[in-house]
Symmetry: D2
């Protein structure tokens, strides 16, 4: 009997972080993959990860619409509750041997609670990291609900153990997103060709010339500041005068603040050297990133993939607070002057140091092996 491994993917970035593990589970002789796509991963305006997944050959077992639209934080909680109720029905139908929840987006706790309450062993990928914001609470709550911990870096392994989890339930696998970075490095794709396949809006940016990449997410617990923070980044990019490819934020309370700042700037004739994309296939995105002078914003990509790839990064504000970072990262606060200065540093950087702190590029295979062989139990207690 193959073990049935049910993975719930809830967002475009989560897919990138689990993709090689999905393939490795699907292809493992002792495992059967059950793939549930939910939340913003189903929605066009957040990049419709589901379509990418289908295009890449994954068969979707269930789709769960759960995002309640709204303009404040109340809908994050409601969406999570609705997803939990629905996922319970899904797990009851699919009867998995293990459920896998990925990282720390708010809606991931729906997966964790549903599995835990149904006595299904829960594996959590990417626990033990620290970032601040609501993700911090979600991530560690996921850890306390999980039975199997698949962590990305040594500092995360130590933290999960300190959180009272049994050492034998913690596996240092590295992060599957680094697997994609490894593949991207090996592939050496043509960025000029890639960008012709995406429309987006805004100015034309010639990617044969130097450019930067921008990814700035709203910081949930600073809801009212989303608009202002984005505006500072916009001003810094204008001041630095560098061409940029800006990738649109994912769904989150506060995302409207971010969107609005961009819209307002564009309507006032700013950002004339910036092209906006809603989404790109991860492999394409990594090629664009590798080829860039650096990444600006607060995405974890700057710390993780870019550490492995050696891409310089300007990391703005508190969102990545406490997360391990390599020598590629320059941390700055929200002010436009500091951001602009850091952008100029990155632009003219001559060295691109590489750090393997988040994995060696073979995490997906390692995760599948753990799931095929680890003991399955739902009974645990604090180790202290």
């Amino acid at each position: 009997m193959k073990r049935k491994i049910c993975v719930v993917v809830t967002a475009r970035p989560s897919y990138a972080r689990i993709k090689t593990a999905l393939a490795a589970i699907r292809d493992h002789p002792d495992l059967e993959l059950q793939l549930v796509v939910a939340a913003s991963a189903l929605l066009d305006r957040y990049g419709a990860a589901v379509k990418v997944m289908e295009a890449e050959g994954f068969r979707i077992d269930r789709k769960v619409y759960m995002i309640v639209e709204g303009e404040n934080l109340v809908t994050s909680a409601k969406s999570t509750g609705i997803g939990m109720a629905e996922l319970a029905t899904v797990f009851n139908d699919l009867q998995p041997d293990v459920v896998v929840t990925v990282a720390d987006r708010y809606e991931t706790i729906a997966t964790s609670v549903a599995a835990a309450y149904m006595n299904i062993p829960l594996a959590h990928v990417q626990g033990g990291e620290v970032t601040g914001s609501i993700d911090e609470k979600t991530r560690h709550a996921n850890t306390k609900l999980a039975d199997i911990h698949l962590v990305c870096c040594e500092s995360a392994r130590i933290r999960v153990e300190k959180l009272g989890e049994r050492p034998e339930s913690i596996f240092l696998t590295g992060c599957p997103s680094i697997d994609l970075a490894r593949e991207a490095l090996e592939e050496k794709r043509d960025v000029a060709e890639i960008v012709t396949r995406y429309s987006g809006v805004g100015a034309g940016v010639d990617v044969r010339e130097p450019y930067v990449v921008v990814m700035q997410h709203p910081v949930t617990t600073e809801y009212d500041d989303s608009y202002r923070n984005t505006a500072e980044t916009i001003e810094a990019i204008e001041a630095a005068g560098v061409p940029a490819l800006w990738f649109w934020p994912n769904v989150d309370a506060g995302s409207d603040g971010t969107s609005k700042a961009i819209r307002v700037a564009r309507e006032h004739g700013r950002l004339r050297q910036v092209h906006f994309y809603r989404n790109m296939h991860p492999a394409d995105f990594l090629a664009v990133l590798m080829h860039s002078r650096g990444i600006i914003g607060n995405s974890s990509v700057a710390l993780r993939e870019c550490a492995y790839l050696g891409v310089p990064a300007v990391n703005i504000g508190s969102r990545q607070r406490g997360r391990d970072r390599g020598r590629n990262v320059r941390d700055v606060d929200y002010g436009r002057d500091a951001i602009a200065a850091a952008i100029r540093d990155v632009w003219s950087a001559t060295e691109r140091p590489v750090d393997m702190i988040y994995g060696d590029g073979h995490a997906g295979k390692r995760i599948a092996d753990v799931l095929a062989t680890c003991p399955l139990t739902i009974d645990k207690m604090l180790t202290y």
Copy 2:
């Protein structure tokens, strides 16, 4: 401006564990109590705590029906999700300054997630304890979602700190349930009069003669065993031949197994010295308990209130595993012979040692004082 403290009570036993704190919050000059009653606390067949609360003078601000009926674990998860979606609306209406979630029943995480995701500071009462079963996961996940920790005993305080919470956010208040035990001790009520006010079913038991109290809850992660475990306890009581007052279990996946074992036994003419109650006012229950020869089963009352009151206890099976206990407790496994032997020990015990490990009887007041004065923040990170 008074701080608005929103307490969500989801079950009859939770009410007993928070009642003196509710009164202290309501009566505190700097606090305003917002009382939400939800889940089984609204349901007649689980003792309708809501009616007791109203009778005791509490004004209910909102009622949230959320228990989905069913015969397996899937409905625990669904109920939690539905409660989460509803509580988000409630918190959005009431706009509290602090939300309080009580202990570790599965549905309490609905309160915790909704408050955390809405950036409302969350206070958790009774964190840091250990028990095994699904409560264990829920409790520590509540801790990771909470900003303020109101713990009952020193070992709990240490565990919450080890879980990476900031020491200044942890307050050792003792357990409000012990406050009720203190009041019961002071009141010295007449048990023979008390029982005339409750009907129940089963044999008449003369409480002027010695008797024991029975409370046995299903153990969620051992769903299929509920019937069998209860049957063992039934046989043990028959074998010991002692009159007993049996208090009906609360709602939980598996409760039907427990109920059925009792029903089958009664239909076969067993349990002729046992009277069954669905519920009793906590003060009445404590008087009945103090007056008894001992308590049989797996209720935490046996470890907490009974430690303070010095009531001997037979604690069966794994449900209270790892929880601090005083000298009043005899632990036994599920076998009928061991249980019967322990009942006989308790029945003839000559000493009733008292331990204050769960509080000195003034926890409610202490909790209100903490909530009135502690800093309110929603931003936290692991301390390591």
Copy 3:
């Protein structure tokens, strides 16, 4: 390509009313049956129709837990909403060509709305009848949402047409419950043997001697009266002094009033000639019914199956108001004296007239044939 026919069964009595159609759909060469079991049909305390269905060889495609527990009408609405959200996901998974909703219980509108809003042709069984109470509103709303109408009697056909539905979308099939009555008539089973297979509670009733059957449902819009109405029936049975087999009511707001009246009566030593059953296999129930002196209460069985079988009936109160009835029915109000007098009449009746107003016993087959051949469209307008 076979047409995929998705039938949603939400309660024990609904199963009896659709069973022969389920079998005929499953066995039809041009149809594929998709069977969804939901609501109280999943719950032990309402007879767990799902277990009967599985025992009778039906494969269940999906189970939907949706009943929110509570003590007032608010939970009927909440249960319906939750069921609607879940059924949408189920229909999205199963992609049926037709959805079938059965009769008029409150939760059936969840099926109707979900199918209609997803542009799936909706067939409604048992529209066009009149009864009063909330069922009345639900039934006609179902008709307005449905595209195909499978009605039981000529007066129903006329009413659906008057409601503005196109004549070519209305099919007079008779009621599948009468198919079971026909089978029961042909089988001639031994009632004395049947009752040995059900335990129930209460007095032993010797079914080789004369007896009556009792089925009394709460009347939703008279919530507060449930207790009182049941008490009147109890007094009438006591006054008539007849042995009775009482079948427990199905889930509904107000069912607790009914249950409580019975419990109170039994605790006061009444109903010593009454045996209570929670449920019986429909075929067994029909045999018990045929063999009885008559049926007492407000069940539609008294009007439908009993018309075909010629079983005398005392129909109490407003629940069946306006529904077609044969010569077997005596209508009375809630007063104990009138009920008792009618029971005595029934007890001593010498004639048992038969009326085929609800069908000739071949409705299931006819329904399957309609579903296999009728045009499928979702576009309709009032005919006036």
Copy 4:
């Protein structure tokens, strides 16, 4: 005791259709208004009716987020179910004497079912009309759930009566939207000033010169056609070569098809004489409309307000099929040529005939009077 009238507003256009009734209820000496805002009426991207309502002095009693985001019809059903569950809680809190549901958008049935199942008398505004599409089913199902019918025109009154409703429960009040048209006629506002207060996107249109208004909604049961139909309208406008103010569609399954057609056209450099608005205050919109050469699309505004105002209309496709219309309307199919020809007709029209078929401009007051005095009952049966 004032009667408590709870009105649920779920969308921007519904607000326009009930606004004068809201004010009249609020100001009526025997009534108390309870205002619930739900669904897309809370969402910025559908015009945030809630902000307009607050700005116009209405106090909101409850907000219900219920729209589940998605790209297909399944989310319409899910949103309705979630709204139903939430509205049950709201009605339980507010304890209204009457609930008012407005018109026929899909989510309105959530209000109707919740009220009906909770035994609260339900008033339905704008029943008895015919349109085709899913609105048709929703509208008549609302009628069957409602106890009080407040209809807009004589043909609607007759249809509701034919649907089996008691004549004494049907009140011909006219449509409150016509009240606003009357006010707009009396106010004679300056359109050139009005448009300066809205940004929108697209070309500048000089409203001192002739222009048309465009409003085209997706037709739910023709989901896949939304993109194509909108594209035809776009081509027709290009062909006619007239300046246009285009008002963005409301939330609905399929709205993405409409949005996309517009986006694609703009990215290809079309629609250079068109300015797009997401929303306008109803009074401003009516002034813009009165001042225009005509309205193009499939909005009911073209039939209702424009009949009263005498504004010529090109009504495209099936969405308004069967609805009463005045002499101002030209009906055309989806083809670009027919639409363009009709636009040219409208553009050069010399007469603007007025018809009062949908009311005389005093409906709001009349509705409040009915709600203050009509008998309140929840018990009804078909009249045939």
